[in-house]
Symmetry: C2
Subunit: 225 residues, 2 copies
DNA sequence: TAAAAAGTGTTGTTTTTACAACAAAATGGA
DNA sequence: TCCATTTTGTTGTAAAAACAACACTTTTTA
């Protein structure tokens, strides 16, 4: 079956065999499509019929407000899904745009078929739904993390909050940020150049060290945690 | 059955009859408890065994970081649930504190029992799970809204983003904010006094009008939307 | 109902941030 | 490999926000 290897690696289809996976493709009325870098996978305001699964590549979720300001809400990578929340909320249009950040292959899955157990009660459908729930839970948690970083008052505090979370996740003082600096500034909603200045200061003060995307938090010896 | 009237009004048990609801109480190993204003319903770091459903009253979800700064992540009201995401993510401790903002009655539901369909396959359990999903979807959407307001650069833009969302939701230029001004400042992560100043300016400029929690957006006649 | 607590608006000052403009470095294609 | 594009760090300046301190109002509760 086409793309089974990739599907097997996603959150949603991780525990299906080839036959089951194939069956689900019918059940969920799926279709595949590939997008080039910068192409819109879906556009804000467009009628929403599908939940989207990123099979290969990556995309950003961006939102344009009525004044024309663009903000990047999150970044999706291989295996991530978009639109589950909206599908449950009963939205009829996409509330954000999905823009490919590289050559990206996606799977469109009919939203009704996906969130409602099907009439023929196909066994694996329940599993798909459970996986969707885990995916939603993860999204919520990621958003909560983002909110907690953004809530900090100064750029330095925002950075530290973010770094501490990454440090905890990596289990070591050394970690790698999943963003370019430009994207990190966007994620934290701060001015890029101001953030760059702050990072330099922090390095000079010996609080952190970094090179490219590699970072390290330097613990102060009199700091007791 | 005790509290059936209140349970009937919640997201989770909205479509159960008294008998089914009673059965679910056993199935989910629930227990009721009442808290006074300011009391901690659960505390950050405490072992997490239950998902919490607010039956009556309200609470805030607050998080304390390693520097001791408190931030309010969201506010829960009657019918809301807390902890579904964490339960799915497999967390073993509460990551936030839940503090009652008034006299509040809650239902503790065993997290394992709640998120996993039970062995006896009780019919209503599936429905509860579907409702939990809707609840998660809502939470995600609320967080996304919050993020999009917070992403705006100036206090004024944050306020306008928030007001426009409320205006849209209410379907009228008149709407009521669900917060005190102090809480609103906290929600948007801005200084309360700076926000107060900005609100006054906006009123003077004729962009908005407000009294207590009642607000109104005043459309500029040359503004075409 | 009186006292305490919480919420609100105002001000001047200090701190932080955004902004703009630039050069250098890194990256990615053709 | 070379050119175009993107990313990054730096600086000075202007704008915005946080902060602190206060008086006044509203709400809560003992």
């Amino acid at each position: 079956m086409e793309h089974f290897d990739e599907l097997k690696k996603t959150k949603i289809f991780k525990d299906t065999n080839e036959f089951e996976c194939q069956a689900m493709m019918f059940c969920l009325k799926t279709r595949f499509k590939t997008f080039d870098k910068h192409q819109h996978i879906v556009s804000q305001g467009e009628p929403m019929d599908d939940i989207i699964l990123i099979i290969k590549g990556g995309a950003i979720v961006e939102n344009i407000d009525s004044l024309g300001n663009i903000s990047i809400l999150m970044r999706l990578k291989k295996g991530d899904v978009y639109g589950v929340e909206s599908a449950y909320a009963g939205d009829t249009v996409y509330k954000d745009s999905l823009v490919a950040t590289e050559r990206t292959r996606v799977l469109f899955m009919n939203k009704h078929r996906t969130i409602n157990p099907c009439e023929n009660r196909c066994k694996k459908h329940e599993m798909v739904i459970k996986n969707l729930m885990q995916s939603m839970a993860q999204t919520s948690i990621q958003l909560l993390d983002k909110v907690s970083h953004m809530s900090k008052k100064t750029i330095r505090d925002k950075l530290m909050s973010y770094f501490k979370a990454l440090e905890k996740k990596s289990g070591s003082a050394y970690f790698e940020i999943p963003f370019s600096k430009t994207e990190l500034a966007n994620y934290l909603s701060v001015d890029r150049s101001a953030m760059s200045t702050e990072l330099t200061k922090m390095k000079e003060e010996g609080i952190i060290d970094f090179d490219k995307r590699q970072f390290r938090l330097i613990k102060n010896q009199n700091e007791i945690l």
